[in-house]
Symmetry: C2
Subunit: 350 residues, 2 copies
Amino acid sequence: MIILLDAMGGDNAPDATIKGAIKAAPEINSEIILIGDESIIRKKLKEFYGKDSIEEIAKNVKIKHTTEQIEMEDIPTVAIKHKKDSSMVVGFKMLKEEEGDIFISAGNSGALLTGATLLIGRIKGIDRPGIAAMLPSEGIKGLLLMDAGANTNCKPINLLQFAQMASIYIHNTFGIEKPRIGLLNIGTEETKGNDLTKESYKILKENAEKYNINFIGNIEPRDCFLGEVDGLVCDGFTGNVLLKSVEGIGKFVKKSLTDSLTKNVLRTISAVPSLPAINEFKKKADHRIYGGAPFLGVKRPVLKAHGSSDELVFYYTLKQAEQFVKGNSVAKMTEAVEKIREVEEKNEVL
Amino acid sequence: MIILLDAMGGDNAPDATIKGAIKAAPEINSEIILIGDESIIRKKLKEFYGKDSIEEIAKNVKIKHTTEQIEMEDIPTVAIKHKKDSSMVVGFKMLKEEEGDIFISAGNSGALLTGATLLIGRIKGIDRPGIAAMLPSEGIKGLLLMDAGANTNCKPINLLQFAQMASIYIHNTFGIEKPRIGLLNIGTEETKGNDLTKESYKILKENAEKYNINFIGNIEPRDCFLGEVDGLVCDGFTGNVLLKSVEGIGKFVKKSLTDSLTKNVLRTISAVPSLPAINEFKKKADHRIYGGAPFLGVKRPVLKAHGSSDELVFYYTLKQAEQFVKGNSVAKMTEAVEKIREVEEKNEVL
């Protein structure tokens, strides 16, 4: 398996991408290709590991040299069209031409979604690809949220397709037999919510069997982290609000907890024995272990890492990438969507 | 000042309402009227305090006897229309006839909003009243979120009015000079978001001066708890998602933190010295100290307490009620809206 990594994408690139790749390399069976400016990468390697030949540091990591890079301020469509030798565009092209099995980038999100849609293309029958982000939860594998921000305005059919894709991804990546899929809503009753959720509830209920979705109904944000649901579908605006709330409350908790613990010296000292417990909690709630977010609905596997990803996030994302490819979710999605199209066409003919 | 309290509303009523009132009574300068079934209240008083005469327990608490109560399952409009001697309907009537200065209830939310709108009435010029909920934040007084769930589908004009009402409430209740009002969105740039937030941004920016709003632009949920914003406006669906996310993550943190701390006996013992720090954090993050949520946009002050409110929430809500009335926010809102109507009418004539 070959994992393509945009070495230049993200706030902490290329330091974090390089370190993450070198850390993950001995633990995975794949080859990692760092896509980016070779001279910069070599300089960094020298700085971090004392030698600039990547073969000597990790034999399953290679470099693909590129000369440009897409910046956070770039206009997505313009950048994808004109920066032809950027690490991101080259990554997509390699992915398309099957020179790699999956592409990971923490670069400009808009450009990544645009690039995936334009250069890789949507799965036939999928109206809108979406971001499937993992959130911490009491569930074994966390909670998959889709769409976490790609489509700010959605129709009920989009949510039905998100539910189908999320099911296939969760099943094939984490081995959960019939993933429980909920509709993110502000009440549990069928009649609750805004126009979109009311309509989506109906369409999800009616089509659950046909689409092979284990639809468990409306789920409120106050109950979604308790491990009773595996996948949560919603429009990208609401999903992004939920995702960023988790982040925001995380920041608040971290600050408040640290403030409380370090308020005075005496208390700091007395707190030391409990630090392992608190660290364990922090680890459990740490979003970094969940890695990147797959962009589902395009023809090849793409993982979007958070712009602020550090070394550890890239490490986890590389491991996750291997699982994603092994699960073969994209082929299974393509097949499932095709089957539904056939049934629908047959019904139309009859 | 007279505070009207629906003694029968909420999952823990009347135990929690009675205990909250008796706890708050010596600390406030107002009279509290417990509205509900007198025989039940007296029985509870006997059980909790050994005597059934409320005058002997707290001289500033009185009982207003009612015979019915609105249940959580009742259809709001039907209940408000037909249960004329329910604690909620009687509370609204007393509020309207100025037999009290503010009404608090943790009963059926739909009935409470319907009752406030039908029996008390909207402020002239306000299209949609909304719920203004307090969230924990690093700010001195927390963060006011409006609308937290009353209106699932909103127009930009509603958000402008929420911003105006939230400003007036925060200023008059907490003494913050020019409350910073943000628009809840999934990006900070003007062009980010869904159709509603894009339009709302424009209308807020254009009208900020006229409406006397210190509009600070888009705020993402990941930055809203850091104390850099005093009031956050959005549609009621999004607001309810944010509100319930805070609740959900709170549950998750509580469970995970407790699990981590009590994983084994040794660790539990070693954790004891740090418990004061953790308790301090828990207190800071405890939503209960923020009391109830004012329903702003109706002609008289109404506070909605969470259905699951306990004794402590009612205690804090009663104290908050006093501040709300003292701040005179409702009269100031009415005046401010009237002024804008006059300006607009004048402009139309010209």
